[in-house]
């Protein structure tokens, strides 16, 4: 790989494990956005956590990690907490980006990395929010309307209206205590909400497809660099993925793409490559 690597390239690592299944489309999304992408099995990362130094963006793709057999994302989250906690804290503190989509979001939440209010010294945070069984009790594949709200999230500016697909059985956002939601609002950490036809937060099925509290579909950490969401932006990176593109005279804009482009641009602009890509620079 080193011959294609340049010290100015943005490099994304996708972490997979048994049951990950959205890694190919996520790799494509980051590649279209201009990043180099490497997909790494968790076992390889555990053998050599130092490899993280070569990357600036981390993606945890969707799927059914370990079958979601205890609860979605739970087992994968435990591996992050028990074996990679310090590496991930370091990653976040160095100003790098993380995205968790669907199962990846569930992993970030159950690992306590989202909403992620704890400091490194305090050790792993006790999860304060969760993603649990959809209110109607079934897996649901559906395109939904979303609106972005957060001004701190590096992945997506506020005020965007997006249409993206969801596909999950456990996506209902819930909090441990009501003040958690207040904190999230106060700290501007609610990035995405499900909205109805008029653009207002949706509280009824099917606009709110899973019964999420406050219609929350995605949140970020207080730095705005760690982002998790239930909808799948990597499934809307070409016009033909839109569910009714055949109705339009002009092909619709692929609205998922922007999220990945924003991340790559932010890394380029923040100068993180030169600072953190020392290992790659040495390799070259």
């Amino acid at each position: 790989m080193s011959e294609t690597r340049s010290s100015t390239a943005v490099r994304t690592i996708l972490i997979t494990t048994a049951g990950t299944n959205c890694d190919r489309e996520l790799a494509r999304a980051f590649a279209l956005a201009g990043s180099q992408v490497e997909t790494v099995h968790i076992n390889r990362l555990l053998e050599n956590p130092g490899m993280l130094r070569e990357f600036q963006i981390m993606g945890i793709p969707g799927g059914f990690s370990y079958g979601d057999d205890i609860a979605s994302g739970k087992i994968f989250a435990n591996i992050f907490v028990d074996h990679l906690y310090n590496s991930i804290r370091e990653w976040i503190e160095h100003g790098k980006l993380i995205i968790g989509i669907c199962n990846g979001f569930q992993v970030l939440v159950k690992a306590g990395l989202l909403p992620g209010n704890s400091s490194a010294e305090a050790g792993p945070a006790q999860p304060s929010v969760t993603l649990t069984h959809n209110h109607h009790g079934r897996f649901e594949d559906r395109w939904v309307k979303l609106r972005s709200y957060s001004k701190i999230c590096k992945w997506l500016p506020a005020g965007r209206e997006l249409t993206l697909p969801i596909a999950h059985g456990e996506g209902r956002f819930a909090v441990a205590t009501p003040d958690v939601l207040d904190d999230l609002n106060r700290q501007d950490q609610i990035v995405l909400r499900y909205v109805d036809g008029s653009g207002k937060p949706a509280h009824q099925f099917p606009d709110n497809p899973n019964g999420s509290l406050d219609a929350v579909a995605g949140i970020c950490d207080p730095t705005g660099r760690v982002f998790g969401l239930m909808p799948h932006p990597e499934r809307f990176i070409t016009s033909y993925q839109h569910p009714c593109w055949t109705r339009f005279d002009q092909l619709p804009v692929a609205q998922g793409t922007e999220i990945f482009e924003n991340a790559v641009r932010w890394i380029r602009q923040s100068g993180s490559i030169e600072i953190f890509d020392t290992a790659a620079a040495v390799a070259n």
Binding site: A18, G19, D69, N78, I79, A174, P243, C244
Partner: protein, 982 residues
């Protein structure tokens, strides 16, 4: 050693989705006395006392098992003051994927070796309300547990220790058959569940008499598996003496038969019809047909596509969830094991059930209620397909009361593979025999032989061991390893690959080694638990295993690749060049047969078949119902036609990002798309369309036309989305009643002949197929229930440019609706007559001279962008087709029946509206395109029947130009949407 019990509950009872779903099902059974069901999950943990201390159990419960935000846990059993407790636990030995994952997570948490803490899981339900113990137990059996794999308990289960398998003490078992009489041989076949007939048992006896010894149990099982209907399709390959009385239905005039009674001898039915068509067509894009696990066609200059459709009827009848899940899992493995290994990119599912509203007391003993079967089958496909990351994009459901004892579950899978890996690999002398994936257990023993006989009300008890439960994540890991091994930079790490399906290792190794011979050391196979005999290891149908032929110098590389993915790759022997199948257990020979006898020794008896096209009943003039609008509503609510959104949305039909025409279309993603389209190669505008055709009701009148109609329907569906009609490949799946009945076999012959005629006429080759030929159920009182003749035609078509794809939802007010094709008086087997409890007589007929031209012309029109929408006319005819286009698009229409081009005898309003004549399309065309459309269609019948309107009403004018139907589209949608909105 201690066992601990942890219970996990939702913190807030209103979040108990599982409990609510169970309550809903109980209410549907009519038990309104229960007001709440509280559900919980149970984990039983067993470990050494040093390791598994109470503190560690607390840690496991709080950090691994319980979600601290939404759940709470109890160590031990939570007391309950009121209500009836029911617990469901898996029987020992049944695959428990949750336990397996939990065990690994616990080992990681405690930093102890995997398996040091063992886990079993269960489910707990507290039924609150007025309910007796007996009623609770009855509800447990109907709603909660399947006693072929699960146990119900009424008090908390906390065993002193987990059940352990008895260690196996090796004993070589010989079965003395050389001296047996014919009757005794038959008896042995029956009691040993071999399902072999008299001539087959005699052939085996003869072989062992010649070699001068008796067979071992493993040898006998090898032959029973290899010679089973399921594995070898002996009916379709048999010699058949077929007599055809054409009867009153006119002769189709092909070379199978002349006028009047004809008797002909058919040597190998499938070869002389279905294979023959593909061979005669000899199309350059069919790359590998009828020899690999799936049929392979060319896609672009770098890739090929493969497709396979399997049935998993028997296991699904007994355990719908596990049966359907392992059905899709097995079919995906078939695709993975095609050519040099393929990436599964799509799945399809088609089900046949009895009416979900069948009254409880009409369900025979030993049969699961069709509503529950449907729910559990859907859940099984959902949980396996979604976990595998394979989008389930197309399907259908057919309802008929005769499927009550034999529900049909068809699972299809499509794979993408490099063009240079399209051909089936061959094991070479010296290659190692490697089992990759899951471990071998006692699950699924006798699945292949069991699926080859008639079901009875006792089968649930007798064959619970034939039921397999899948573990999708094991299969997903295995897939990751296989694709990495295939794409190894220095060349593939294996020569050949096949799935371990029906018959287990005995079929997989036997087939791969049929040329080279194989020496297998059964004691090396990794086992889930102790106690399996060598014969059980050999025939177990434990899921998620594949057999690879691996070059000896690449074995180490394969093993280490597998280890990186936490997958086992075990060397169990060698393809040794002996031409024999030799089985060893701990060094001792437990089987040694000539491969030639195994694969060629099956006797070929002559079977008799007869078909007489039924004398049509005397003409009954059916007065059309006074209100045809009402009839249209009723048709839209018929379960076969009604919306399947409840099923479709439970499947992740978009994973992998390639689904560009989705199963639900239109502005609200609610319309019934004709076919799905997937774009499997990023950066290529080429795509593949997937569709099905199936018309079991027509089989009651004419199995030949039933098959042709199914083919025509599958082609129409592909054409409707923009598929190229010259690049469509077909797959056949026959599900039939028992073919020892000459009439059933005769009907099968006719259907196969239609497949030949249709494939040749449409130039649509068959590339793969399967059959399931014993679909009968014998009830407690001896009543025989035969399923209708069911032929599923699956079609895969190439879309040259995805930008040209269209969908069936009406797009724009002012556009014209154009009906292409001629309408005949063909209400026989129609849904319209079914609603009036008639079968009718005039089965819809495919005009093989005209139909191919219609498909080509419509395909051309769509590729030129002349149609904005297209929908095929099938169940419910024109009336249902136009209603579906409108409800999908949210528009109205005003149409006239007078311009419809029809045969003379069809000129009655209800016939024009509801006849199911094939080869018809309804197109939405911009007025400015009408002229060009006319010139593209040439002399093909085309009628401008009306206009799309903004006002969402469907107004249909009769032949006399009076308003015949005036219905709001919203109401029509409600009729269509509601029946299966569970």
């Amino acid at each position: 050693m201690s066992v601990y019990r942890v219970e996990v509950y939702p913190q807030n009872p209103s979040d108990d989705a599982t409990g609510a779903a169970v309550l809903n099902e109980i209410r549907q059974l009519g038990f309104n006395e229960i007001y709440e069901v509280a559900s919980g999950r149970i984990f039983l943990l067993q470990g050494d006392d040093q390791l598994l201390t109470p503190a560690q159990v607390e840690k496991i419960a709080s950090q691994v098992l319980c979600d601290p935000v939404s759940e709470r846990y109890v160590i031990g059993a939570a007391p309950h003051a009121v209500g009836r407790l029911l617990e469901v636990h898996l029987k020992p030995g049944v695959m428990d994927p949750v336990a397996a994952s939990t065990q690994a997570a616990v080992a990681d948490k405690l930093q102890c070796p995997p398996g040091a803490v063992e886990v079993r899981t269960g489910r707990r339900f507290l039924l609150l309300g007025q309910v007796t113990a007996d009623t609770a137990m009855m509800l447990g059996r109907r709603v909660l547990a399947n006693e072929s794999i699960e146990e119900l308990h009424t008090s908390p289960l906390l065993p002193d220790a987990f059940p352990v398998g008895r260690p196996y003490s090796f004993k070589r078992v010989e079965v003395p058959i050389r001296q047996l009489s014919r009757e005794e041989l038959q008896n042995l076949s029956r009691t040993g569940h071999l399902f072999l007939d008299a001539s087959e048992m005699a052939a085996i006896q003869n072989y062992f008499q010649q070699i001068g010894r008796d067979p071992t149990d493993a040898e006998l099982e090898t032959l029973a598996q290899t010679w089973s209907e399921h594995c070898v399709h002996k009916t379709l390959k048999a010699i058949i003496e077929f007599t055809h009385h054409p009867g009153a239905v006119e002769n189709e005039g092909h070379d199978h038969h002349g006028p009047g009674d004809v008797t002909m001898r058919i040597d190998n039915l499938v070869k002389s019809t279905i294979f023959r068509a593909t061979k005669e067509l000899n199309l350059p894009w069919t790359l590998s047909v009828f020899k690999d696990n799936a049929g392979v066609i060319a896609f672009d200059d770098r890739h090929a596509l493969c497709m396979k459709v399997e049935t998993h009827n028997r296991p699904s009848a007994i355990e719908p969830y596990g049966g359907a899940a392992t059905g899709i899992g097995g079919c995906i493995r078939d695709v993975i094991g095609t050519g040099g290994g393929a990436m599964p990119i799509a799945a399809t599912d088609v089900f046949c059930f009895a009416d979900p509203h069948t009254p409880e007391n009409k369900v025979p003993a030993g049969v699961i209620h069709p509503r529950r079967t449907a729910r559990r089958v859907v859940a099984g496909v959902r949980d396996y397909g979604n976990r595998m990351g394979v989008p389930t994009v197309n399907g259908a459901v057919f309802f008929d009361s005769r499927y009550i004892g034999n529900p049909l579950v068809f699972c299809g899978s499509v794979g993408l593979l490099p063009l240079d890996q399209a051909q089936k690999g061959a094991a070479r002398k010296g290659d190692r025999i490697v089992v990759l994936g899951g471990r071998t257990g006692r699950d699924g023993i006798h699945g292949a032989t069991f699926s080859s006989d008639v079901l009875t009300d006792k089968h649930g008890e007798q064959f619970s061991h034939a039921v397999q439960i899948g573990n999708a994540i094991t299969e997903k890991k295995m897939l990751d390893v296989i694709l990495a091994a295939r794409d190894n930079p220095g060349g593939s790490l294996f020569h050949a690959i096949t799935d371990c399906g029906a018959g287990g290792l005995s079929s997989a190794v036997g087939e791969m080694g049929s040329e080279t011979g194989a020496a297998v050391h059964l004691d090396r196979a990794p086992l889930k638990y102790d106690g399996l005999s060598y014969a059980e290891i050999w025939i177990s149908e434990a899921q998620e295993r594949m057999v690879l032929a691996v070059q000896p110098d690449r074995l180490a590389a394969l093993k280490s690749l597998a280890a990186r993915h936490d997958v086992e790759a075990i060397d169990i022997g060698e393809f040794d060049g002996s031409g024999r199948l030799t089985l060893y257990y701990r060094g001792e020979v437990v089987g040694d047969m000539d491969m030639h006898f195994i694969h060629e020794g099956l006797p070929k008896p002559v079977r008799k078949a007869i078909w007489e096209d039924p004398t049509p009943p005397s003409v009954i003039r059916i007065a059309p119902p006074a209100d045809l609008g009402r009839a249209l509503h009723e048709l839209l609510s018929a379960p076969t036609i009604a919306s399947k959104h409840w099923i479709i949305r439970q499947y992740d039909h978009e994973v992998q990002g390639g689904t560009v025409i989705k199963p639900l279309v239109g502005p609200r993603n609610s319309g019934p798309g004709d076919a799905a389209v997937i774009m499997p190669v990023a950066d290529s505008q080429k795509a593949a369309a997937l569709a099905v055709g199936c018309q079991p009701r027509f089989g009651d009148l004419n199995p030949y036309q039933m098959a042709l109609n199914s083919i025509d329907e599958a082609i129409r569906n592909i054409v409707c989305v923009g598929g190229n009609p010259q690049r469509i490949a077909l797959l056949d799946n026959f599900c039939w009643p028992k073919c020892s009945d000459r009439i059933h076999l005769g009907a099968l012959v006719r259907a196969c002949q239609a497949c030949y005629d249709g494939a040749i006429a449409f130039r649509t080759p068959f590339i793969s197929g399967k059959d399931s030929l014993s679909n009968e159920f014998i009830t407690e009182d001896g009543t025989r229930i035969c399923i209708p003749y069911t032929l599923l035609i699956s079609a895969i078509g190439i879309v040259d440019d995805v930008a040209r794809c269209i969908t069936m939802d009406a797009k724009k007010p002012g556009h014209r609706l154009v009906l292409v094709g001629i309408t005949r008086r063909e209400l026989g087997g129609s849904h319209y007559l079914m609603l009036q409890n008639h079968l009718g007589r005039n089965v819809p007929k495919v005009d093989l001279a005209a139909a191919p031209k219609v498909h080509q012309a419509v395909g051309r029109a769509i590729s030129r962008g002349l149609a904005r929408s297209a929908h095929d006319l099938s169940e419910g005819g024109l009336g249902v087709a136009v209603a579906e286009m409108l409800l999908a698009g949210g528009l109205g229409a005003r149409i006239k029946l007078s311009p419809v081009i029809s045969s003379e005898d069809a000129r009655e309003d209800h016939v024009l509206l509801f006849s199911e004549t094939p080869t018809r399309y309804l197109l939405e065309v911009a007025p400015s395109h009408l002229e060009e459309l006319q010139s593209v269609l040439g002399d093909i019948p085309m009628a401008d029947i009306g206009e799309l309107t903004r006002d969402p009403r469907l107004i249909i004018e009769s032949l006399r130009n009076e308003v015949l139907i005036d219905e709001s589209v919203e109401a029509l949608e409600e009729s269509w949407h509601r029946p299966l909105d569970w």
